[in-house]
Subunit: 238 residues, 2 copies
């Protein structure tokens, strides 16, 4: 899975004489040129949310207590809500959500299976880490979408996915079992590679790869820093 979108991009080169400080501010959201179409953006993010819902559904079944089951079901409901809202945005464009999601199914399914935990806490960590990373990534990528539909898509993705609830459940597990922390730290490291690959594959790469990489790098550096903070919250080394 390298990129779904490797197509020629029109580039209009204009001389830039922006002052340094402005330039740095622009760099933060400089994925704009790598942003897929609104339809593709919605399709991939909608199917990812459905895939998160599937993983959380497993976590509902595996939950060791009624309390945990109830909490995870609520979190699952949030991702389902995001999926349905993103699918509704696709329908609003006059497209069939299933048709436009189809090209992404195989790779997302491969991602879901690769990040499927061996037991409940690992599955929870997967949900916490991958939804956190990818929601954040799509919010940034969505800054390159124009118009109200793009803003709505970003607002949908920004909504709370229940990270705090997942952290509480994970923390309780770690507190009860010292060995769990090191196992989850390892699992977290496993997850970030696959998650970054999915994120990268959503970018529209142009002909000038070096230039694209230069745009991508600072964004991913920042996303990894946020991933590290997510692990820190649990006292785990990223």
């Amino acid at each position: 899975m390298v990129s779904w979108f490797r197509r020629a991009r029109e580039r209009i080169e204009v001389p830039r004489l922006t002052p340094r400080s402005d330039q740095r501010a622009t760099e933060r959201v400089d994925l704009a040129e790598l942003t897929p179409t609104l339809e593709e953006f919605l399709a991939l993010s909608a199917y990812l949310q459905l895939s998160f819902f599937e993983s959380l559904g497993d976590a509902v079944s595996q939950a060791p207590t009624t309390q945990a089951k109830s909490v995870v079901a609520r979190v699952a409901g949030r991702t389902l809500d995001k999926h349905e809202k993103l699918a509704a945005e696709i329908a609003r464009l006059g497209d069939d959500p299933v048709d436009v999601m189809q090209p992404f199914v195989e790779a997302v399914e491969r991602f879901r299976l690769a990040t499927h935990g061996a037991e409940w806490h690992e599955t929870l960590l997967t949900c916490y880490i991958t939804t956190g990373f990818l929601d954040e990534f799509f919010v940034r990528l969505g800054a390159g979408l124009r118009g109200e539909a793009g803003e709505r898509a970003v607002a949908i993705l920004k909504a709370d996915s229940g990270a705090d609830e997942l952290v509480s459940l994970l923390q309780a597990g770690i507190d009860a079992d010292a060995k769990l922390a090191s196992r989850l730290a390892m699992w977290g490291r496993r997850l970030v590679g696959d998650t970054m690959l999915v994120a990268r594959s959503a970018l529209v790469m142009g002909a000038d790869q070096d230039s694209d990489e230069a745009r991508i790098e600072p964004v991913f550096t920042e996303l990894i820093a946020m991933h590290t903070r997510r692990m820190d919250v649990l006292g785990l080394t990223a």
Copy 2:
């Protein structure tokens, strides 16, 4: 699983001189005396909805197409919505939903495992048949609850659980595979026994068993007639 609620009931015997026609009308909802407390009613029905959500979550994972996955996820969302609304009603009574659901967990889980399909279409039939039967049963039982909270609970349970969507998916499977119909007909017969047991266990049985049975029988006869109609919709013999 016979009854969670076998406790003495206060019965005030008053001479009845109701005209025949009125009496028959009363009989239709004559589970009133067998109705558990509002809290118990909410707890069992809330946990059953969570259990339906769990089964539908399995069906999301097993779905053979993106279209089917998307539809089943939406149906799962409806049962989750019912669960959360019923849990919110429990919280409104000042109780902790998890605490009051706990006594029902073991038996509902046993029911869920006993009615777990061997493959996707069986799981779908389970969801269609058991949610249909039990929602209908709880709506009738809920007629015995007093006050606005009881009315709200019944309104929550009456909401659409996505039966039409499940029927469409099942019908498509039956149309594509002639053997599936007879397998599902057999599975449907298996389901109804376990489902009736769960329904019965929600009734508060008094000291006078014969009198209770006389009340229960016509209601279950009607529920089974509705089950038969549900199977008929799919062209399956109940």
